[in-house]
Protein backbone atom coordinates (compact mmCIF):
# COMPACT_ATOMS: atom_id res chain seq x y z
CA UNK A 1 0.00 0.00 0.00
CA UNK A 2 1.05 3.58 -0.64
CA UNK A 3 1.05 5.91 2.35
CA UNK A 4 -0.52 9.35 2.33
CA UNK A 5 0.97 12.55 3.74
CA UNK A 6 -0.76 11.96 7.08
CA UNK A 7 1.27 8.77 7.52
CA UNK A 8 4.52 10.66 7.32
CA UNK A 9 3.21 13.08 9.92
CA UNK A 10 2.37 10.07 12.12
CA UNK A 11 6.03 9.03 12.13
CA UNK A 12 7.34 12.43 13.25
CA UNK A 13 7.11 12.03 17.07
CA UNK A 14 8.99 8.72 17.08
CA UNK A 15 11.60 9.95 14.60
CA UNK A 16 12.13 13.12 16.65
CA UNK A 17 12.70 10.97 19.74
CA UNK A 18 15.18 8.72 17.95
CA UNK A 19 17.00 11.52 16.16
CA UNK A 20 17.01 13.85 19.17
CA UNK A 21 17.89 11.51 21.99
CA UNK A 22 19.99 8.87 20.27
CA UNK A 23 21.35 10.75 17.25
CA UNK A 24 21.74 13.99 19.19
CA UNK A 25 23.41 12.23 22.09
CA UNK A 26 25.95 10.44 19.92
CA UNK A 27 26.70 13.60 17.90
CA UNK A 28 27.23 15.63 21.07
CA UNK A 29 29.48 12.89 22.44
CA UNK A 30 31.48 13.08 19.18
CA UNK A 31 31.74 16.89 19.47
CA UNK A 32 33.13 16.56 23.00
CA UNK A 33 35.41 13.70 21.95
CA UNK A 34 36.85 16.05 19.33
CA UNK A 35 37.75 18.36 22.17
CA UNK A 36 35.22 21.09 21.47
CA UNK A 37 34.40 22.60 24.86
CA UNK A 38 33.46 26.27 24.51
CA UNK A 39 33.09 26.51 28.30
CA UNK A 40 36.83 25.79 28.65
CA UNK A 41 37.68 28.01 25.67
CA UNK A 42 38.33 24.95 23.47
CA UNK A 43 36.79 25.48 20.05
CA UNK A 44 39.22 23.88 17.59
CA UNK A 45 38.53 20.20 16.81
CA UNK A 46 41.39 17.87 17.70
CA UNK A 47 42.02 14.16 17.67
CA UNK A 48 44.07 14.43 20.89
CA UNK A 49 41.48 12.69 23.03
CA UNK A 50 41.14 9.79 20.60
CA UNK A 51 44.92 9.48 20.57
CA UNK A 52 44.99 9.62 24.36
CA UNK A 53 42.18 7.05 24.69
CA UNK A 54 43.51 4.57 22.16
CA UNK A 55 47.20 5.23 22.70
CA UNK A 56 47.44 4.53 26.40
CA UNK A 57 48.93 1.30 27.67
CA UNK A 58 45.60 -0.08 28.90
CA UNK A 59 43.75 0.30 25.60
CA UNK A 60 44.90 -2.85 23.81
CA UNK A 61 44.47 -5.13 26.86
CA UNK A 62 40.99 -3.64 27.36
CA UNK A 63 40.07 -4.09 23.70
CA UNK A 64 41.38 -7.66 23.77
CA UNK A 65 39.41 -8.46 26.94
CA UNK A 66 36.23 -6.90 25.51
CA UNK A 67 36.56 -8.77 22.21
CA UNK A 68 37.35 -12.01 24.03
CA UNK A 69 34.39 -11.94 26.43
CA UNK A 70 32.03 -10.87 23.60
CA UNK A 71 33.26 -13.70 21.34
CA UNK A 72 33.28 -16.44 23.97
CA UNK A 73 29.90 -15.45 25.40
CA UNK A 74 28.36 -15.23 21.91
CA UNK A 75 29.56 -18.71 20.94
CA UNK A 76 28.34 -20.18 24.24
CA UNK A 77 25.01 -18.32 24.16
CA UNK A 78 24.30 -19.21 20.52
CA UNK A 79 25.09 -22.90 21.10
CA UNK A 80 23.05 -23.17 24.30
CA UNK A 81 20.17 -21.00 23.07
CA UNK A 82 19.91 -22.73 19.70
CA UNK A 83 20.15 -26.13 21.41
CA UNK A 84 17.26 -25.33 23.73
CA UNK A 85 15.17 -23.77 20.96
CA UNK A 86 15.68 -26.60 18.47
CA UNK A 87 15.24 -29.24 21.19
CA UNK A 88 12.00 -27.63 22.32
CA UNK A 89 10.80 -27.38 18.72
CA UNK A 90 11.55 -31.05 18.06
CA UNK A 91 10.19 -32.59 21.24
CA UNK A 92 7.68 -30.28 22.88
CA UNK A 93 4.32 -29.31 21.49
CA UNK A 94 4.16 -25.48 21.28
CA UNK A 95 2.02 -23.84 23.96
CA UNK A 96 1.92 -20.50 25.64
CA UNK A 97 3.39 -22.13 28.78
CA UNK A 98 6.43 -23.21 26.79
CA UNK A 99 6.79 -19.73 25.31
CA UNK A 100 6.69 -18.17 28.80
CA UNK A 101 9.12 -20.76 30.20
CA UNK A 102 11.59 -19.87 27.44
CA UNK A 103 11.06 -16.15 27.93
CA UNK A 104 11.31 -15.82 31.72
CA UNK A 105 15.11 -15.93 32.06
CA UNK A 106 15.33 -13.27 29.37
CA UNK A 107 13.80 -10.85 31.82
CA UNK A 108 16.37 -11.24 34.59
CA UNK A 109 18.17 -7.90 34.97
CA UNK A 110 21.92 -7.90 34.23
CA UNK A 111 22.72 -7.09 37.85
CA UNK A 112 20.88 -10.17 39.07
CA UNK A 113 22.65 -12.44 36.59
CA UNK A 114 25.98 -11.00 37.77
CA UNK A 115 25.00 -11.63 41.39
CA UNK A 116 23.98 -15.24 40.60
CA UNK A 117 27.35 -15.89 38.98
CA UNK A 118 29.10 -14.42 42.04
CA UNK A 119 27.13 -16.58 44.46
CA UNK A 120 27.80 -19.79 42.53
CA UNK A 121 31.24 -19.39 40.96
CA UNK A 122 33.33 -17.13 43.23
CA UNK A 123 35.94 -18.87 45.37
CA UNK A 124 33.63 -18.90 48.38
CA UNK A 125 30.67 -19.73 46.15
CA UNK A 126 28.51 -22.80 45.87
CA UNK A 127 30.58 -24.52 43.18
CA UNK A 128 33.85 -24.57 45.21
CA UNK A 129 31.80 -25.77 48.22
CA UNK A 130 30.52 -28.66 46.09
CA UNK A 131 34.06 -29.43 44.91
CA UNK A 132 35.11 -29.49 48.59
CA UNK A 133 32.23 -31.81 49.48
CA UNK A 134 33.42 -34.20 46.76
CA UNK A 135 36.91 -33.97 48.18
CA UNK A 136 38.39 -32.45 45.02
CA UNK A 137 39.77 -29.38 46.82
CA UNK A 138 40.72 -28.88 50.47
CA UNK A 139 41.11 -25.09 50.72
CA UNK A 140 39.06 -22.16 49.48
CA UNK A 141 42.17 -20.93 47.67
CA UNK A 142 42.40 -24.23 45.73
CA UNK A 143 39.17 -23.36 43.93
CA UNK A 144 39.62 -22.21 40.33
CA UNK A 145 39.55 -18.40 40.25
CA UNK A 146 36.67 -18.09 37.79
CA UNK A 147 35.58 -14.62 38.87
CA UNK A 148 37.83 -11.54 38.71
CA UNK A 149 40.18 -13.65 36.58
CA UNK A 150 42.53 -12.19 33.98
CA UNK A 151 40.92 -13.98 31.03
CA UNK A 152 37.47 -12.63 31.84
CA UNK A 153 35.91 -16.08 32.25
CA UNK A 154 33.42 -14.83 34.84
CA UNK A 155 32.33 -11.97 32.58
CA UNK A 156 31.91 -14.29 29.57
CA UNK A 157 29.93 -16.72 31.72
CA UNK A 158 27.61 -13.98 33.00
CA UNK A 159 27.06 -12.59 29.48
CA UNK A 160 26.42 -16.08 28.06
CA UNK A 161 23.84 -16.81 30.78
CA UNK A 162 22.18 -13.48 30.08
CA UNK A 163 22.12 -13.89 26.29
CA UNK A 164 21.36 -17.61 25.82
CA UNK A 165 17.63 -17.15 26.57
CA UNK A 166 17.54 -14.27 24.09
CA UNK A 167 18.94 -16.53 21.36
CA UNK A 168 16.44 -19.26 22.32
CA UNK A 169 13.47 -16.88 22.15
CA UNK A 170 14.57 -15.50 18.78
CA UNK A 171 15.30 -18.89 17.18
CA UNK A 172 12.41 -20.91 18.66
CA UNK A 173 9.51 -19.67 16.46
CA UNK A 174 11.51 -20.39 13.30
CA UNK A 175 12.68 -23.79 14.48
CA UNK A 176 9.12 -24.68 15.53
CA UNK A 177 7.75 -23.57 12.18
CA UNK A 178 10.35 -25.54 10.20
CA UNK A 179 9.75 -28.65 12.31
CA UNK A 180 5.95 -28.49 11.93
CA UNK A 181 6.08 -28.02 8.14
CA UNK A 182 9.17 -29.34 6.35
CA UNK A 183 10.14 -31.47 9.37
CA UNK A 184 6.86 -33.33 9.26
CA UNK A 185 7.31 -34.07 5.58
CA UNK A 186 10.88 -35.26 6.15
CA UNK A 187 9.75 -37.53 9.01
CA UNK A 188 7.02 -39.01 6.83
CA UNK A 189 9.68 -39.70 4.22
CA UNK A 190 11.70 -41.54 6.86
CA UNK A 191 14.29 -38.96 8.01
CA UNK A 192 15.74 -39.65 11.46
CA UNK A 193 16.45 -37.04 14.12
CA UNK A 194 20.12 -36.31 13.19
CA UNK A 195 19.27 -35.92 9.49
CA UNK A 196 16.29 -33.77 10.38
CA UNK A 197 18.48 -31.59 12.59
CA UNK A 198 21.53 -31.24 10.33
CA UNK A 199 19.93 -31.23 6.88
CA UNK A 200 16.68 -29.37 7.54
CA UNK A 201 16.20 -27.56 10.85
CA UNK A 202 19.64 -25.96 11.27
CA UNK A 203 20.14 -24.85 7.64
CA UNK A 204 16.65 -23.39 7.46
CA UNK A 205 16.85 -21.50 10.76
CA UNK A 206 20.41 -20.35 10.07
CA UNK A 207 19.50 -16.72 9.22
CA UNK A 208 17.69 -16.38 12.56
CA UNK A 209 20.67 -17.88 14.37
CA UNK A 210 23.08 -15.52 12.57
CA UNK A 211 20.93 -12.50 13.44
CA UNK A 212 20.79 -13.59 17.07
CA UNK A 213 24.57 -14.02 17.08
CA UNK A 214 25.23 -10.51 15.77
CA UNK A 215 22.89 -8.91 18.31
CA UNK A 216 24.41 -11.00 21.12
CA UNK A 217 27.93 -9.97 20.13
CA UNK A 218 26.99 -6.28 19.94
CA UNK A 219 25.42 -6.55 23.40
CA UNK A 220 28.36 -8.35 24.87
CA UNK A 221 30.72 -5.81 23.40
CA UNK A 222 29.09 -2.78 25.01
CA UNK A 223 27.46 -4.32 28.08
CA UNK A 224 28.22 -2.62 31.35
CA UNK A 225 26.83 -4.18 34.53
CA UNK A 226 28.09 -7.75 34.17
CA UNK A 227 31.76 -6.83 33.48
CA UNK A 228 31.57 -4.10 36.12
CA UNK A 229 30.56 -6.58 38.82
CA UNK A 230 32.47 -9.66 37.62
CA UNK A 231 35.61 -8.05 36.20
CA UNK A 232 38.86 -7.15 37.87
CA UNK A 233 40.23 -3.61 38.11
CA UNK A 234 42.73 -4.22 35.26
CA UNK A 235 42.18 -4.86 32.46
CA UNK A 236 38.61 -3.61 32.25
CA UNK A 237 36.19 -3.80 29.31
CA UNK A 238 35.94 -0.69 27.10
CA UNK A 239 32.52 0.30 28.44
CA UNK A 240 33.80 0.07 32.02
CA UNK A 241 36.85 2.19 31.13
CA UNK A 242 34.58 4.79 29.49
CA UNK A 243 32.41 4.89 32.62
CA UNK A 244 35.37 5.23 34.96
CA UNK A 245 36.83 8.06 32.87
CA UNK A 246 33.43 9.74 32.69
CA UNK A 247 32.86 9.66 36.46
CA UNK A 248 36.45 10.65 37.29
CA UNK A 249 37.00 13.93 39.14
CA UNK A 250 39.40 15.20 36.45
CA UNK A 251 37.36 17.31 33.93
CA UNK A 252 39.69 16.51 31.00
CA UNK A 253 38.96 12.79 31.47
CA UNK A 254 35.46 13.44 30.15
CA UNK A 255 36.34 14.10 26.51
CA UNK A 256 38.53 11.01 26.73
CA UNK A 257 35.54 9.06 28.02
CA UNK A 258 33.50 10.35 25.07
CA UNK A 259 36.28 9.34 22.66
CA UNK A 260 36.22 5.86 24.21
CA UNK A 261 32.43 5.83 23.79
CA UNK A 262 32.73 6.83 20.12
CA UNK A 263 35.24 4.02 19.58
CA UNK A 264 32.66 1.56 20.97
CA UNK A 265 29.99 3.16 18.75
CA UNK A 266 32.20 2.72 15.66
CA UNK A 267 32.86 -0.94 16.43
CA UNK A 268 29.16 -1.51 17.04
CA UNK A 269 28.40 0.28 13.76
CA UNK A 270 30.39 -2.39 11.92
CA UNK A 271 28.29 -4.99 13.76
CA UNK A 272 25.13 -3.10 12.82
CA UNK A 273 26.06 -3.39 9.14
CA UNK A 274 26.51 -7.14 9.67
CA UNK A 275 23.15 -7.22 11.41
CA UNK A 276 21.28 -5.50 8.61
CA UNK A 277 22.99 -7.73 6.06
CA UNK A 278 21.95 -10.85 7.97
CA UNK A 279 18.49 -9.53 8.78
CA UNK A 280 17.72 -9.15 5.09
CA UNK A 281 18.02 -12.92 4.81
CA UNK A 282 16.10 -13.17 8.05
CA UNK A 283 13.20 -11.21 6.54
CA UNK A 284 13.23 -13.55 3.56
CA UNK A 285 13.05 -16.44 5.99
CA UNK A 286 10.16 -14.76 7.80
CA UNK A 287 8.36 -14.48 4.48
CA UNK A 288 8.92 -18.17 3.67
CA UNK A 289 7.66 -19.12 7.12
CA UNK A 290 4.40 -17.29 6.59
CA UNK A 291 3.96 -18.86 3.18
CA UNK A 292 4.78 -22.22 4.77
CA UNK A 293 2.21 -21.71 7.52
CA UNK A 294 -0.46 -20.55 5.10
CA UNK A 295 0.10 -23.62 2.92
Amino acid sequence: MKPRLVHFVLMVPALLLFAGLFGGGVVLALVRALGIYPAYGMVVPTLDFFVRATGSSWFLPSLALTARVATVSTIAAVMAGTGVAVGAALWIRPSWRLRIALQLPLYLPHLIVANMVLVVFSQSGLLPRLLFAFGWISEMSDAPPLIYDEQGFGIALGLALKEAPFVAVLVFPFAASVVSTYGRVARTLGARAPTLLLRIVLPMTWPAIATAAVITFAYGFSSFEIPYVLGRTYPRTLSNVAYDLYTSAEPMDRPEAMAMGIVIVLINAVLAVAYFASSRRYETLLHHMRVGQAA
Binding site: M1, K2, P3, H7, L10, M11, P13, A14, L15, L17, F18, L21, F22, G24, G25, V26, L28, A29, L30, R32, I92, S95, I100, A101, L102, Q103, Y107, L108, P109, H110, L111, I112, A114, N115, M116, L118, V119, V120, S124, L126, P128, R129, F132, M140, L161, I215, A218, S222, F224, E225, S239, A242, Y246, M258, G261, I264, V265, N268, L271, F276
Partner: protein
Amino acid sequence: MNKMGAAVVSLILLVLAGPLLPLMLWSVANRWPWPRLLPETYSSRSWEFVLDRDSGFVIGLGWSFAIAAAVTVIALLVSLPIARVLGLYRFRGKSVIEVLVLLPLLMPAFVAAMGLHETFIHWGLTDTVSGVILIQLVPTMPYMVRTLSTGFTLIGTRLEDQARTLGAGSLRIAMSVTLPRLAHAMVAGSTFVFLASLGDYLLTVLVGGDAVPTLPLVLFPYIAAGDRPLAAVGSLLLALCPLATVLALESALANFSSMRANQEAKG
Protein backbone atom coordinates in the same frame (compact mmCIF):
# COMPACT_ATOMS: atom_id res chain seq x y z
CA MET B 1 -0.76 -29.91 26.07
CA ASN B 2 0.33 -33.52 26.41
CA LYS B 3 1.68 -34.97 29.65
CA MET B 4 5.17 -35.35 28.26
CA GLY B 5 5.18 -31.69 27.21
CA ALA B 6 3.98 -30.57 30.64
CA ALA B 7 6.77 -32.58 32.25
CA VAL B 8 9.41 -31.02 29.99
CA VAL B 9 8.10 -27.51 30.59
CA SER B 10 8.18 -28.12 34.36
CA LEU B 11 11.73 -29.38 33.97
CA ILE B 12 12.73 -26.22 32.09
CA LEU B 13 11.14 -24.11 34.84
CA LEU B 14 13.01 -26.12 37.46
CA VAL B 15 16.32 -25.58 35.66
CA LEU B 16 15.50 -21.87 35.53
CA ALA B 17 14.61 -21.77 39.21
CA GLY B 18 17.86 -23.58 40.03
CA PRO B 19 20.11 -20.52 39.87
CA LEU B 20 17.64 -18.63 42.07
CA LEU B 21 17.94 -21.29 44.78
CA PRO B 22 21.35 -20.15 46.12
CA LEU B 23 19.97 -16.60 46.29
CA MET B 24 16.96 -17.87 48.25
CA LEU B 25 19.24 -19.70 50.70
CA TRP B 26 21.48 -16.64 51.14
CA SER B 27 18.43 -14.47 51.74
CA VAL B 28 17.49 -16.46 54.86
CA ALA B 29 21.03 -17.39 55.97
CA ASN B 30 22.30 -16.07 59.26
CA ARG B 31 25.70 -17.79 59.29
CA TRP B 32 26.92 -19.68 56.23
CA PRO B 33 30.67 -20.28 56.59
CA TRP B 34 32.87 -22.01 54.01
CA PRO B 35 32.78 -24.90 53.14
CA ARG B 36 29.24 -25.77 54.27
CA LEU B 37 26.74 -26.57 51.51
CA LEU B 38 23.82 -25.23 53.52
CA PRO B 39 23.62 -22.31 55.97
CA GLU B 40 24.54 -23.11 59.58
CA THR B 41 21.83 -20.94 61.09
CA TYR B 42 18.87 -19.16 59.54
CA SER B 43 17.31 -15.78 60.20
CA SER B 44 14.74 -13.43 58.71
CA ARG B 45 16.99 -10.47 59.48
CA SER B 46 17.90 -9.66 55.85
CA TRP B 47 14.29 -9.70 54.70
CA GLU B 48 13.27 -7.51 57.64
CA PHE B 49 16.01 -5.03 56.80
CA VAL B 50 15.17 -4.89 53.09
CA LEU B 51 11.42 -4.63 53.64
CA ASP B 52 11.92 -1.84 56.18
CA ARG B 53 11.10 1.54 54.61
CA ASP B 54 14.32 3.17 55.83
CA SER B 55 16.60 0.81 53.91
CA GLY B 56 15.45 2.33 50.60
CA PHE B 57 14.75 -0.99 48.88
CA VAL B 58 10.96 -0.76 48.95
CA ILE B 59 10.99 2.89 47.91
CA GLY B 60 13.46 1.95 45.17
CA LEU B 61 11.05 -0.72 43.94
CA GLY B 62 8.31 1.92 43.88
CA TRP B 63 10.49 4.27 41.80
CA SER B 64 11.41 1.43 39.45
CA PHE B 65 7.80 0.44 38.86
CA ALA B 66 6.64 4.04 38.36
CA ILE B 67 9.43 4.85 35.89
CA ALA B 68 9.03 1.55 34.02
CA ALA B 69 5.28 2.16 33.70
CA ALA B 70 5.84 5.68 32.35
CA VAL B 71 8.50 4.51 29.89
CA THR B 72 6.20 1.73 28.67
CA VAL B 73 3.17 3.98 28.17
CA ILE B 74 5.18 6.66 26.35
CA ALA B 75 6.99 4.08 24.18
CA LEU B 76 3.64 2.48 23.30
CA LEU B 77 1.95 5.78 22.38
CA VAL B 78 4.88 7.08 20.33
CA SER B 79 5.53 3.73 18.61
CA LEU B 80 1.97 2.83 17.55
CA PRO B 81 1.73 5.37 14.70
CA ILE B 82 5.18 4.75 13.23
CA ALA B 83 4.81 0.99 13.63
CA ARG B 84 1.55 1.09 11.69
CA VAL B 85 3.14 2.96 8.79
CA LEU B 86 6.21 0.70 8.78
CA GLY B 87 4.13 -2.45 9.12
CA LEU B 88 1.52 -1.75 6.44
CA TYR B 89 2.90 0.64 3.84
CA ARG B 90 5.61 0.60 1.20
CA PHE B 91 7.37 3.81 0.29
CA ARG B 92 10.70 5.05 -0.85
CA GLY B 93 13.16 5.54 2.00
CA LYS B 94 11.33 3.07 4.23
CA SER B 95 14.44 0.95 4.77
CA VAL B 96 16.36 4.05 5.86
CA ILE B 97 13.75 4.77 8.51
CA GLU B 98 13.75 1.13 9.61
CA VAL B 99 17.52 1.19 10.03
CA LEU B 100 17.33 4.49 11.91
CA VAL B 101 14.70 3.11 14.27
CA LEU B 102 16.56 -0.16 14.95
CA LEU B 103 20.01 1.37 15.29
CA PRO B 104 19.81 2.21 19.03
CA LEU B 105 19.23 -1.52 19.61
CA LEU B 106 22.73 -2.32 18.42
CA MET B 107 24.45 0.74 19.85
CA PRO B 108 25.56 1.53 23.38
CA ALA B 109 22.87 3.91 24.66
CA PHE B 110 25.16 5.07 27.45
CA VAL B 111 27.31 6.99 24.93
CA ALA B 112 24.20 9.00 23.96
CA ALA B 113 23.50 9.53 27.66
CA MET B 114 27.03 10.86 28.19
CA GLY B 115 26.73 13.14 25.16
CA LEU B 116 23.37 14.50 26.30
CA HIS B 117 24.52 15.23 29.83
CA GLU B 118 25.20 18.95 29.40
CA THR B 119 22.06 19.45 27.33
CA PHE B 120 20.08 17.70 30.06
CA ILE B 121 21.64 19.99 32.68
CA HIS B 122 20.66 22.96 30.53
CA TRP B 123 17.06 21.74 30.30
CA GLY B 124 16.95 20.84 33.99
CA LEU B 125 16.55 17.13 33.22
CA THR B 126 19.55 15.73 35.11
CA ASP B 127 18.76 14.28 38.53
CA THR B 128 15.06 14.15 37.60
CA VAL B 129 12.60 11.36 36.95
CA SER B 130 11.67 12.91 33.58
CA GLY B 131 15.31 12.78 32.48
CA VAL B 132 15.58 9.11 33.45
CA ILE B 133 12.34 8.30 31.60
CA LEU B 134 13.55 10.11 28.46
CA ILE B 135 16.94 8.38 28.36
CA GLN B 136 15.42 4.94 28.98
CA LEU B 137 13.28 5.41 25.86
CA VAL B 138 16.46 5.26 23.73
CA PRO B 139 17.29 1.54 24.07
CA THR B 140 13.70 0.36 24.62
CA MET B 141 11.74 2.05 21.79
CA PRO B 142 13.29 -0.06 19.00
CA TYR B 143 11.79 -3.21 20.54
CA MET B 144 8.39 -1.62 20.75
CA VAL B 145 8.43 -0.33 17.16
CA ARG B 146 9.73 -3.64 15.86
CA THR B 147 7.19 -5.79 17.75
CA LEU B 148 4.23 -3.55 16.88
CA SER B 149 5.12 -3.22 13.20
CA THR B 150 5.34 -7.03 12.91
CA GLY B 151 1.95 -7.12 14.66
CA PHE B 152 0.45 -4.66 12.15
CA THR B 153 1.86 -6.67 9.23
CA LEU B 154 0.36 -9.87 10.62
CA ILE B 155 -3.17 -8.51 11.17
CA GLY B 156 -3.25 -6.63 7.86
CA THR B 157 -6.04 -4.24 6.89
CA ARG B 158 -8.70 -6.63 5.58
CA LEU B 159 -10.97 -6.46 8.65
CA GLU B 160 -10.49 -2.69 8.93
CA ASP B 161 -11.59 -2.31 5.31
CA GLN B 162 -14.64 -4.46 5.95
CA ALA B 163 -15.57 -2.40 8.99
CA ARG B 164 -15.17 0.80 6.96
CA THR B 165 -17.37 -0.56 4.18
CA LEU B 166 -19.99 -1.34 6.83
CA GLY B 167 -19.86 2.32 7.87
CA ALA B 168 -17.69 2.31 11.01
CA GLY B 169 -15.76 5.51 11.82
CA SER B 170 -11.99 5.65 12.34
CA LEU B 171 -12.21 5.73 16.15
CA ARG B 172 -14.65 2.83 16.21
CA ILE B 173 -12.39 0.84 13.88
CA ALA B 174 -9.34 1.55 16.04
CA MET B 175 -11.08 0.66 19.29
CA SER B 176 -13.01 -2.42 18.24
CA VAL B 177 -11.04 -3.86 15.31
CA THR B 178 -7.37 -2.84 15.22
CA LEU B 179 -6.30 -2.45 18.85
CA PRO B 180 -7.93 -5.66 20.15
CA ARG B 181 -6.29 -7.62 17.37
CA LEU B 182 -2.99 -5.97 18.16
CA ALA B 183 -3.25 -6.90 21.87
CA HIS B 184 -0.67 -9.71 21.66
CA ALA B 185 1.94 -7.51 20.02
CA MET B 186 1.23 -4.66 22.45
CA VAL B 187 1.61 -6.95 25.46
CA ALA B 188 4.80 -8.50 24.06
CA GLY B 189 6.38 -5.11 23.33
CA SER B 190 5.23 -3.59 26.63
CA THR B 191 6.55 -6.52 28.65
CA PHE B 192 9.96 -6.16 27.13
CA VAL B 193 10.14 -2.39 27.53
CA PHE B 194 8.80 -2.55 31.09
CA LEU B 195 11.32 -5.14 32.22
CA ALA B 196 14.26 -3.55 30.42
CA SER B 197 13.45 -0.27 32.16
CA LEU B 198 12.97 -1.97 35.51
CA GLY B 199 16.41 -3.60 35.41
CA ASP B 200 18.39 -0.64 34.07
CA TYR B 201 21.32 0.56 36.13
CA LEU B 202 23.74 2.49 33.91
CA LEU B 203 21.43 4.99 32.16
CA THR B 204 19.59 5.69 35.40
CA VAL B 205 22.80 6.38 37.29
CA LEU B 206 24.22 8.55 34.47
CA VAL B 207 21.15 10.79 34.21
CA GLY B 208 19.39 10.44 37.56
CA GLY B 209 22.37 9.96 39.86
CA ASP B 210 21.44 9.59 43.51
CA ALA B 211 18.34 11.71 43.02
CA VAL B 212 16.37 8.87 41.41
CA PRO B 213 17.17 5.84 43.60
CA THR B 214 15.55 3.00 41.67
CA LEU B 215 15.92 -0.55 42.99
CA PRO B 216 19.00 -1.43 40.86
CA LEU B 217 20.78 1.67 42.23
CA VAL B 218 19.90 0.76 45.82
CA LEU B 219 20.94 -2.86 45.25
CA PHE B 220 24.23 -2.27 43.41
CA PRO B 221 26.42 -1.29 46.41
CA TYR B 222 25.38 -4.43 48.31
CA ILE B 223 26.40 -6.65 45.37
CA ALA B 224 29.65 -4.75 44.83
CA ALA B 225 30.52 -4.89 48.54
CA GLY B 226 29.88 -8.65 48.64
CA ASP B 227 27.10 -8.41 51.23
CA ARG B 228 25.63 -11.77 50.21
CA PRO B 229 22.44 -11.89 52.34
CA LEU B 230 21.24 -8.36 51.52
CA ALA B 231 22.32 -8.63 47.88
CA ALA B 232 20.34 -11.89 47.69
CA VAL B 233 17.14 -10.40 49.10
CA GLY B 234 17.42 -7.36 46.83
CA SER B 235 18.09 -9.57 43.81
CA LEU B 236 15.06 -11.73 44.55
CA LEU B 237 12.94 -8.60 44.89
CA LEU B 238 14.18 -7.29 41.53
CA ALA B 239 13.92 -10.70 39.82
CA LEU B 240 10.58 -11.91 41.15
CA CYS B 241 8.57 -8.70 40.80
CA PRO B 242 9.15 -8.62 37.01
CA LEU B 243 8.35 -12.32 36.69
CA ALA B 244 5.09 -11.79 38.59
CA THR B 245 4.29 -8.86 36.27
CA VAL B 246 4.89 -10.95 33.15
CA LEU B 247 2.75 -13.80 34.39
CA ALA B 248 -0.05 -11.39 35.35
CA LEU B 249 0.06 -9.68 31.94
CA GLU B 250 0.16 -12.95 30.02
CA SER B 251 -2.72 -14.51 31.90
CA ALA B 252 -4.74 -11.31 31.48
CA LEU B 253 -4.03 -11.56 27.76
CA ALA B 254 -5.06 -15.22 27.67
CA ASN B 255 -8.35 -14.30 29.40
CA PHE B 256 -8.88 -11.41 27.03
CA SER B 257 -8.28 -13.62 23.99
CA SER B 258 -10.70 -16.30 25.12
CA MET B 259 -13.29 -13.64 26.01
CA ARG B 260 -13.03 -12.20 22.51
CA ALA B 261 -13.14 -15.64 20.96
CA ASN B 262 -16.42 -16.25 22.83
CA GLN B 263 -17.82 -12.90 21.73
CA GLU B 264 -16.93 -13.56 18.13
CA ALA B 265 -18.46 -17.04 18.33
CA LYS B 266 -21.73 -15.51 19.65
CA GLY B 267 -21.71 -12.62 17.17
